[in-house]
Amino acid sequence: MPKDVAVIGVGQSAFVRGYPGSIRELAFEAFREAMLDASIGVKEIGASVVCSAPEYDRQRSPSGLIAEYLGLNPQPTFVIENVCASSTSGIRAAYSLIKSGLHDIVAVIGFQKMSEISSAESQERMGRGADIMWESPFGTMMPAYYAMHARAHFEKHGSTERDLAMIRVKSSKYGMLNDKAVYRGEVKLEKALNAGVVSSPLKVYDCCANADGASCVILANRDRAVELSPKPVWLLGLGAATAPMNLTGREALDGLSCARAAARQAYQMAGLQPQDIDVAEVHDCFTIAELMAYEDLGFAGPGKGVDLVRNGETYIGGKIPVNVDGGLLSKGHPIGATGGSQVRTIVLQLRGEAGAMQVPGAEFGLVHNIGGVGIYSNVIILGR
């Protein structure tokens, strides 16, 4: 089990609708919290990796701006972008920078300010995160792509709209406990089932909340981590994979092949099995995405994810607690910040600092972060 690179600091802004500040100020909120958490100064940071999807704000090449505002000149910086999986891809890059010996400590900053454009414009941009030549001309958007996966899963495995609604009920329960979540309201089963249809069979509460937000994860090599951190959390396994962007290239729509491949790599690197994981953060941009993640990560067999849902096994106290911070569904999904926020949640869990959301005694945690509709996947396993 490799213990070469550790998380020594985590931070996250509140995820909100309509952040009343600029992107640099938003990024600073997460950075400040992570730096205070790590108890280090800016000169200790060897390089920064800035993660954000383009076209939500007007800044081009945001890494230069963010590095300047965070006081991280003259250290090197660059942008990593894999839409919704940007900041876990940034963590993968930072891991490589550290493991190679190029840098001792690297800060990964993810941000997204989505509220400067309308919801319809946001959907159009997300739609163009798929094949703009052969799919976008039909008016595609993320809910539609995931809805087609939901229909395929229903048909093949007998899952239902009620199963998906139960996933949202769970997220809302934990979102109510998370003071950084954008959606703090309770969602009861009937409310979820009776909500308007966005893209059949997905309804309003099957879809995550767009939000403005930032996250920051500070990584260090073994020596610096042991020196600086009383509770380093180690990156034990990293997996990453891709699948065709265009749906025509997918073998099946009842799961995400890139997630399965990334999970295999991460488990192998960590020397762990799905049943060893004590708490997981999965990419629930839509309820169906969480259901598919249960199966793609091996928490349930193919088509058996509904058993975890129906038996409440993904709540705290269940077999495998998932998204007990509210997930993307309730905590919110500021694209470039999401992966870093997922890692922060798991780090707090493994340190025993997750408060009301704590899974008692959690030793190993897993992050599953997907970019686009299963185009990019990162699976990261962390441990104490």
């Binding site: 414009e121 959907q123 030549m133 001309p137 008016g139 595609t140 087609m148 308007g196 025509t248």
Partner: protein, 137 residues
């Protein structure tokens, strides 16, 4: 030039496979086939990732396919507001899969995963051209 005429709103104008739109004008839905290794591609492509060749010929997507999945979109992204609701579909024609819309007069209640579907060419009122699907009877 030419590809800007594809679909409700095209985001690409120049491509080596713009002849796809000319075939749509003639009422034909075409894929490309690699002259060297015979692999058939939809969406059409100019280059073969299997043998790295760039010799392609146009072959027709014929017959009926099987409906892999579908969804009725009720809230459109910017630029597509006038079309809602519309049904996006993925259809498996055996050698290739094709992504597109169901014809607007087909209700989603008439659809079932696995049912036979055919592709037809359609002209939009503003001169754009596309293809769409219909249940095959």
């Amino acid at each position: 030039m030419g590809f800007e005429r594809f679909g409700r709103k095209s985001f690409t104008s120049q491509t080596k496979v713009a002849a796809f739109v000319d075939y749509l004008d003639k009422g034909e839905l075409r894929a490309t086939k690699c002259n060297n290794c015979d692999q058939v591609f939809f969406p059409p492509r100019a280059d073969c990732p299997n043998c790295l060749g760039d010799g392609m010929e146009w072959v027709e997507v014929e017959g009926t396919g099987s409906l892999v999945s579908f969804t009725q979109v009720n809230y459109a992204p910017a630029g597509f507001e006038g079309d809602v609701p519309y049904i996006l579909s993925l259809v498996d024609f055996g050698k290739v899969r094709v992504f597109g819309r169901m014809r607007s007069d087909v209700p989603q209640e008439a659809l079932k995963v696995g049912m036979p579907v055919k592709a037809v060419i359609c002209r939009l009122s503003d001169g754009q051209v596309a293809y769409e699907f219909l249940p095959a009877r």
